[in-house]
Symmetry: C2
Amino acid sequence: MASPTAYARHDHHRCIDDALLAARRICKTQGARLTTLRERVLAKVWQSHRPLGAYAILELLAEDGEGHPAPPTVYRALDFLQEQGLVHRLSSLNAYIGCDSPGQPHDSQFLICRHCQVTVEVASRKVSEAVARCAEAKDFNIQHSNVEIVGDCPNCQKKAL
Amino acid sequence: MASPTAYARHDHHRCIDDALLAARRICKTQGARLTTLRERVLAKVWQSHRPLGAYAILELLAEDGEGHPAPPTVYRALDFLQEQGLVHRLSSLNAYIGCDSPGQPHDSQFLICRHCQVTVEVASRKVSEAVARCAEAKDFNIQHSNVEIVGDCPNCQKKAL
DNA sequence: GCGCAAATTGCAATATTATAACATTTTATT
DNA sequence: AATAAAATGTTATAATATTGCAATTTGCGC
């Protein structure tokens, strides 16, 4: 199992660039409008592999100088990005993170490090299936599932925190 | 698979009574103090099989007439109840629900109906194991996992909503 | 029972996250 | 260019949660 990029030293500019390119491609094919603002918000979300709160995004946007949007603006952009499957919301943190594999619908789980906050998205068929069976067994019809796993990432384990 | 109590017509007073009895027993053995306030909060949480927000609990307490606690009071009681494993917090709803099988530590998942909000706690070994394997595969050390599944409960499916 | 320390609760203020309502601007299309 | 729809701006406020400190209650040793 290759270690997720997020845990390794890597050229993060590439993560950002890839995310923006994918977003443009997806929005184009969907006929959705990836405006400047939305793209700026997406870029901020992708500034790291840590989930970012709406107000943190707001501050980062303000630092750019190009306009100081108000909360509704950011929330609307985030709503749009979620609808397009470009970002996920982590409800246990009230924060947002870029989607790892946008475009195709997928069921994902999140590994959230409680020390460094680095968060990795995984798409485990085993987990998805187990969840599906578990719901079926109770005659429950799944619309959406949210799996957030909190613990220690490999890096932080090494640091013996 | 027996249908969960929450979905069936049942004597709900018994759910409340059982929860309170179990809570007293558990706190006693743990040397934890289940005060009047904490017990009142627990009773409110158990008033239904729907998750309840902190401010909703606050209002219910106020209706009783016996003092109108302020938010911190309720949040502290909820923190205590969570520490004792007597209630769970559903982060996707910012709401709290009574624990189904308090006492022993357990890994649970929640089936949340998007129509009637009735929420059932399940403890699927398959899901727990799949989650554990998925984390292991990324060399991630789980501290806690949160699985919230949103969809249509059996009753609401029948009503064809 | 009495006094002390610790735990709990009360209380006021405030922080944080999110949305409502409506005005304005931008965009795509005619 | 005119229009309608979409997006953004703006102001205010709602909903959720916490901080800090004072007052009270409780458990416990004496």
